[in-house]
C-alpha cells in the first residue's frame, strides 16, 4: 500500500541557521508516529514543512503517492503548482498548539468553512458532517459558541473537529496540549486517543511522553535537525540507544 506520508531528505534553513539537516520519514496508512525532541530541535519546522506551511530548501514530500511539485526561483524553492498545494493541504488536517480557530466564526462555521469554500462540497452535507464531528469531540452543545467564549480544551477539541471536517488522509498535531492548563490536557488527549483507535494516520509532536508511548506505533527523537533515534515507543522511551535520547527521556519522565 502507498504510504500516507513520505518525506525524503528534507533540508530547511532560516538564514544561516540550518534547522532540518536531511530528515527522511515514512508514515504508513494507519500509523501513529510521535515526534519528540528538545526545544529548537526542529519538530515544528518538520511538521510545518509537510503541508508546505514552511517551504523546505530541498527534499521531497509525497502525500498518498503524490509528490508535491517544487521549483526553484531566484535561488529559493517554491511550490510549482499552488492549486496542488491547496488541494493537498486539505488532505492533511493540521492541529496547532494555539488552536487558531477563526475568532469571527462560531464553532460550526469554523468547521464548515473550508469544506464549503475550499472543497466546494454541498453546504447541507458539510453541516451534517460537522455536527456529527462536534458530537464526537463532545462539543455538540457549543456549536453556536464563538471561540473566545470557550476554554482552551474546548477550543482545541473544536480545532481537531475542524481538521477532521476536511476528511483528511492524515492528521498532524503540533504540541496539541502544550498551551492548555493541566486540568484540560486530559480531555484533548482523550479525543486524540479516540482518533488513534479509529486507525487514523497521525504525526504527533508532543511532550506528553507517557501518552505518546501509549498510543504511537513508532517514536522519533529529533536532535539538531536530524533523526537521532527511531523505533518502537517501548524502545525509544524505555531503553533508548543513543545517549542524547536517553538523557532527554530521563529528563522528561521525571517531571
Amino acid at each position: 500500500m502507498t504510504p500516507a506520508i513520505v518525506i525524503r531528505d528534507l533540508h530547511k534553513s532560516f538564514g544561516s541557521l540550518e534547522v532540518l539537516k536531511g530528515v527522511s520519514l515514512d508514515a504508513a496508512e494507519g500509523e501513529v508516529i510521535s515526534i519528540i525532541g528538545a526545544s529548537g530541535s526542529g519538530k515544528s519546522t518538520l511538521l510545518r514543512c509537510i503541508p508546505l506551511l514552511e517551504l523546505p530548501d530541498s527534499g521531497e514530500i509525497i502525500i498518498g503517492g503524490e509528490t508535491l511539485r517544487m521549483r526553484s526561483r531566484h535561488g529559493r524553492s517554491e511550490p510549482a503548482d499552488t492549486t496542488q498545494v491547496n488541494r493537498i493541504r486539505g488532505t492533511l488536517g493540521f492541529v496547532f498548539q494555539s488552536f487558531n480557530l477563526w475568532p469571527h466564526m462560531t464553532v460550526l462555521q469554523n468547521l464548515i468553512e473550508a469544506p464549503i469554500h475550499v472543497q466546494k462540497r454541498p453546504r447541507a452535507e458539510c453541516i451534517a458532517e460537522a455536527e456529527a464531528l462536534l458530537k464526537k469531540v463532545g462539543m455538540a452543545e457549543k456549536r453556536n459558541a464563538y471561540p473566545s467564549h470557550l476554554s482552551g480544551g474546548q477550543q482545541q477539541r473544536a480545532a481537531i473537529a475542524r481538521a477532521l471536517a476536511m476528511r483528511p488522509r492524515a492528521l498532524l498535531f503540533d504540541e496539541p496540549t502544550s498551551s492548555l492548563d493541566p486540568e484540560l490536557v486530559g480531555e484533548v488527549l482523550q479525543v486524540i486517543a479516540g482518533l488513534v483507535a479509529e486507525g487514523r494516520t497521525m504525526l504527533i509532536v508532543t511532550h506528553e511522553m507517557s501518552f505518546a508511548a501509549e498510543v504511537s506505533s513508532r517514536a522519533i527523537f529529533l536532535h539538531a535537525g536530524r533523526i537521532e533515534e527511531e523505533g518502537h515507543p517501548k524502545q525509544v522511551f524505555g531503553d533508548p540507544v543513543t545517549e542524547r535520547c536517553r538523557a532527554f527521556v530521563a529528563r522528561h519522565l521525571n517531571r
Partner: protein, 230 residues
C-alpha cells in the same frame, strides 16, 4: 415672529440640501472604501505596488482636499486627452468631480486605517486558513478582511463622519449641498450667524444618526467580543 419665520425658512432651504450631502457621502464613502481595501491589500501582499500606494497616500493626505477638488474640476479640462475621452461627459460636471475628489481622498485615509486592521489579524488565523487550503483572494475574503475590517471599523467610523463634513467643500465647485445653500442665503441676507448655526445643527444631526448606526454595526459584527449569553 419675523425672526422665527426667517429661521424656519432658512431651515427649510438648508434641509433641501441634505439629500445631496447624504448622496455625496454615501457614494464617495462606498467608492473610496472599495478603493481603500484594494490599495491596502495591494500594499500588504503585492510588493511591486507597495511604493505606489505609499506615494498615493502621501500625496492625498499631504494636500488639502480643497486643492484636490480644484485640480480635478479646473485642471483636468486643460488636457486634450481628457476632453476627448469617454469620461469627459462625467468630468465636466461638478457633481462627478466632487465625487471623484472625495473618493480618492477618503481612499487614502481609509487604506491607512485598513492597513492597521490588516496588521492586527492574528497570524495564527491566517496560518490555519492556509493549512485548510485557502490562499489568495479566498483567504482575504473569508478570513483576513473580515477580521481586519472589524478591527478597523471604529477608526473608519471617524473617517465616515469626517467625510460628511468634507462634502461641504463641494460647494466651491458650485454644488448646492447644505453648505452651498448656506453661502447662497448669506450672500442674500448677510445673516451669517443664524444661517451657519442652522447648517451646523443639520450636520450635527446627520452625524449623530451616523455615529449610532456605526456603533450598532460594530455590535452586530462582533458577537464574539460580547460576553457569552448562553
Amino acid at each position: 415672529m419675523n425672526e422665527l419665520s426667517f429661521l424656519g425658512d432658512t431651515m427649510r432651504q438648508l434641509l433641501s440640501g441634505v439629500p445631496l450631502t447624504v448622496e455625496l457621502t454615501i457614494i464617495s464613502v462606498s467608492v473610496g472604501g472599495a478603493l481603500a481595501i484594494v490599495l491596502s491589500v495591494l500594499r500588504a501582499s503585492f510588493a511591486p505596488f507597495a511604493s505606489f500606494v505609499r506615494f498615493y497616500v502621501f500625496a492625498l493626505r499631504g494636500t488639502p482636499l480643497l486643492l484636490q477638488m480644484f485640480l480635478i474640476y479646473y485642471g483636468l479640462g486643460q488636457f486634450d486627452t481628457v476632453q476627448h475621452s469617454v469620461l469627459w461627459p462625467f468630468l465636466r460636471q461638478p457633481y462627478w468631480c466632487a465625487i471623484l475628489a472625495l473618493s480618492l481622498n477618503t481612499a487614502a485615509y481609509g487604506s491607512e486605517i485598513i492597513r492597521g486592521g490588516l496588521q492586527s489579524v492574528p497570524p495564527g488565523s491566517i496560518e490555519s486558513a492556509r493549512a485548510c487550503g485557502m490562499s489568495g483572494l479566498l483567504l482575504y475574503r473569508r478570513v483576513i478582511l473580515p477580521l481586519a475590517l472589524r478591527q478597523a471599523l471604529p477608526a473608519y467610523g471617524s473617517e465616515v463622519i469626517a467625510m460628511v463634513k468634507s462634502t461641504s467643500l463641494a460647494s466651491i465647485v458650485t454644488l448646492m449641498e447644505i453648505s452651498g445653500i448656506a453661502y447662497a442665503i448669506i450672500s442674500e441676507t448677510y445673516r451669517a450667524l443664524e444661517v451657519f448655526l442652522c447648517a451646523g445643527l443639520i450636520y450635527l444631526v446627520i452625524n449623530f444618526v451616523l455615529t449610532r448606526a456605526i456603533a450598532s454595526l460594530e455590535v452586530w459584527l462582533n458577537p464574539h467580543l460580547r460576553s457569552a449569553t448562553s
